[in-house]
Amino acid sequence: MIVQATHTVLFYLIAALALVMALSVVFSRKLLRAAIALMGVLALTAGLYILLGAEFLAGVQVLVYVGGIVVLIVFAIMLTRSSDLLEDQPTLPRALLGAFVGLVFLVMSSAVFFSSPFQADTSGAQVTDDTVAIGRSLLDYGPKGYVLPFEIISLLLLAAAIGGIVIARKIPAPSQPFTSGGDLPGEADFTQPRSQREEA
C-alpha cells in the first residue's frame, strides 16, 4: 500500500516539476537558463522511466541527453555571443514563420494526444527490463528483430562523423604563414622531403 502511495506521490511530483521546467524552457529569456531547464526536463523524464521499471532506458536517457545533447547545446551557447545581448526583435517574416511552425507542431502533437486511447494496463504484468533481451532483439534479423534499423542508424552516424571531420579539417595553405599540412600549428609539412618543403 505504502509503496503504491509513494509511487503515486513521486509520479505527480516528477510530472509537475517536469512541466514547470518545460514551461521555463520556452519562456526563459536567457538561452543558457533554457538549456539548463531542458536538462531538468530530460533528467526528470528519466525519473519517470525508473518509475515504470525501465532502468536501462533511464540510464541511456541521462547518458545521451544530459551527457551529450545538453552539453552540446551549452557548448554552442558558450561559443556564441553572451545571452545578455539577446534583445533584438525578430523581423516580421521570422515571427510569422515561427508562429506557423509552432502551430503545425501544436496540431501534430494534439492529434497524437487525442487519438491515443490511454488505456491503463490493469493486467499487472511487470515490465521486464533485461539488457540481455534488449541486446538480442537489437541484433535479431528475424521478424521481430531490429537489426536493419540498427545498421541504418550506425551508417547514418558514421556518415555524420565523417562529414564532421571533413568540415573541421584544416586545408593546407602554403602561402600563409603558420599553416601546415600537419595538425601542429606553426610547423612545416614534415611529410614532404626537406628540399621540397616550403619555409614558412
Binding site: 532502468e55 536501462f56 551529450g68 551549452v74
Partner: protein, 373 residues
C-alpha cells in the same frame, strides 16, 4: 590448535552473502516502516561520513605525497605530523566570505557546485565496498556511473559560464571538451569488462572475478583496457598531466576562479572524491573489488587469501590506484591542448576499439586463464 585453524578456514571459505542496504530495507518493508526509515538514515549518514572522511584523508595524503616527491616534509605544524591541517583548512574555507561576482548569473552560479557534488554523491551510493557494504546495486551499474558523471560536466560548464569571467569561460570550455573526448575511451575500456563479466551490475562484476581478476585473466586485453581506463579517467577528472582546464599559470584557476568559501570547497571536494570514484571503479572492474586475490582451483591458497576481510582488500586496491594517480600528478608535466586531443583521438581511441574487438574474440572463444564456471 588444529581445530581452531580449520574453524578459521571454514569461516574464510564460506560463500560471500552479498546484500545491499536497499535490499535489507525492502525486506523489512512488510514488517516495519521504522526499520526502512532507519536504513535510509543509515545510508545517508554513511555517505556523508564517507565524503567528509575522504576529503580530509585524500587532501592530507596529496599534500604529504607531493612533499615527499619534492624532497620536503609537507604539512607538519597543525597536529602531529600535520594531521589536522585539512581540518584547519576546512574551517578557514567555511569562514570565508561567499562572493558572487556582480555581473554573474546568480542562480546558475549557485547551482553549479551542487551539480558537481550531486553527481559525485550519487555514484558513491552504488559502489560495492564489501559484500555487505553497498547501499544500492543497480543492474545498470556501469551505465549509471557513466551517465551520472554527465551532471558533473554540466556543473563545470555552468560554473565557468556563469562567473562572467573570460578565464573561467576558457577553463570550462577546455574542461568540457576534454571530458567529453576522454569519456569515449574510458567507456570503451569499461565495456571490455562488461563484455567479460556479462553483466553491468557492479556487484555482479565483482562476483564474476572469483577465479581471478579481469586485469590478468584475459591475456593482456584486460591489462590494456586497465591502462587506457586509468589514462582516460585521469583526464576526465582534470588532474595533472591533463589539468589545462585549471592551469594556474595561464588561467588563474580555470572554471572555479570566481568561487570562494563553501562553494569553492564543493568543487574542490568533488574533484578529490572523483579521484576516489575513479580508483574505486578501476579496483572494482579490473582488480576484483572486494574479491580476495584468488587463483582458480588453488583451494588452499584461496582460503588463506580469504582470511583477509573483503573491505580491506577493496581499501588496499583503492589506495594503490589513488597513489598511482597522485604519482602521475607530481611526476609528469602538463600537456598542451593539441597534444591532449592527439593522445585521445589518434592514440587511445584506436587502441580502445582494437582492444574491444580482441576482447569480444576472447569472450567468444572462452579463452581465459582459469575459465571456471
Amino acid at each position: 590448535m588444529q581445530n581452531a585453524m580449520s574453524m578459521i578456514l571454514v569461516a574464510a571459505t564460506g560463500p560471500w552473502a552479498a546484500k545491499t542496504v536497499a535490499e535489507r530495507a525492502s525486506e523489512s518493508l512488510d514488517t516495519s516502516l521504522w526499520a526502512v526509515a532507519a536504513y535510509m538514515v543509515l545510508a545517508l549518514l554513511a555517505v556523508v561520513v564517507l565524503v567528509t572522511l575522504l576529503g580530509l584523508v585524500l587532501i592530507y595524503a596529496e599534500r604529504k605525497i607531493a612533499g615527499r616527491f619534492q624532497c620536503r616534509v609537507g604539512p607538519m605544524r597543525v597536529g602531529p605530523h600535520g594531521l589536522l591541517q585539512t581540518v584547519a583548512d576546512t574551517f578557514k574555507l567555511l569562514l570565508k566570505e561567499d562572493i558572487i561576482p556582480t555581473r554573474a548569473d546568480q542562480a546558475m552560479h549557485l547551482l553549479a557546485p551542487f551539480l558537481c557534488m550531486g553527481a559525485t554523491v550519487l555514484i558513491i551510493a552504488v559502489l560495492p565496498y564489501s559484500p555487505t557494504m553497498q547501499i544500492l546495486d543497480l543492474n545498470i551499474g556501469v551505465l549509471f556511473v557513466t551517465a551520472v558523471s554527465g551532471f558533473g560536466v554540466m556543473g563545470i560548464l555552468l560554473g565557468g559560464w556563469s562567473s562572467n569571467n573570460k578565464w573561467s569561460l576558457i577553463g570550462a570550455m577546455r574542461s568540457g571538451a576534454q571530458i567529453i573526448s576522454y569519456e569515449i575511451s574510458a567507456t570503451l575500456a569499461l565495456l571490455v569488462v562488461v563484455l567479460f563479466a556479462g553483466t553491468m551490475s557492479l556487484r555482479g562484476i565483482v562476483e564474476s572475478q572469483e577465479a581471478g581478476w579481469w586485469i590478468w585473466r584475459a591475456h593482456g586485453v584486460g591489462l590494456i583496457s586497465f591502462i587506457v581506463y586509468l589514462i582516460a579517467s585521469t583526464a576526465e577528472i582534470n588532474r595533472t598531466p591533463f589539468d589545462i582546464p585549471e592551469g594556474e599559470s595561464e588561467l588563474t584557476a580555470g572554471f572555479h576562479a570566481e568561487y570562494s568559501g563553501l562553494r569553492f570547497s564543493f568543487f574542490f571536494l568533488s574533484e578529490f572524491i572523483n579521484m576516489f570514484i575513479v580508483s574505486a571503479l578501476a579496483a572494482t572492474l579490473f582488480l576484483g573489488g572486494w574479491m580476495p586475490f584468488h587463483i582458480g582451483g588453488w583451494t588452499t591458497f584461496n582460503n588463506v587469501m580469504g582470511l583477509i576481510p573483503p573491505s580491506l582488500w577493496f581499501a588496499g586496491k583503492n589506495l594503490f590506484v589513488i597513489f598511482v594517480i597522485m604519482w602521475f600528478r607530481w611526476t609528469f608535466p602538463r600537456l598542451r591542448v593539441d597534444q591532449l586531443m592527439r593522445l585521445e583521438w589518434k592514440i587511445l581511441l584506436p587502441i580502445g576499439f582494437a582492444n574491444l574487438m580482441a576482447a569480444s574474440l576472447v569472450v567468444l572463444s572462452n579463452f581465459y586463464f582459469f575459465p571456471g564456471k
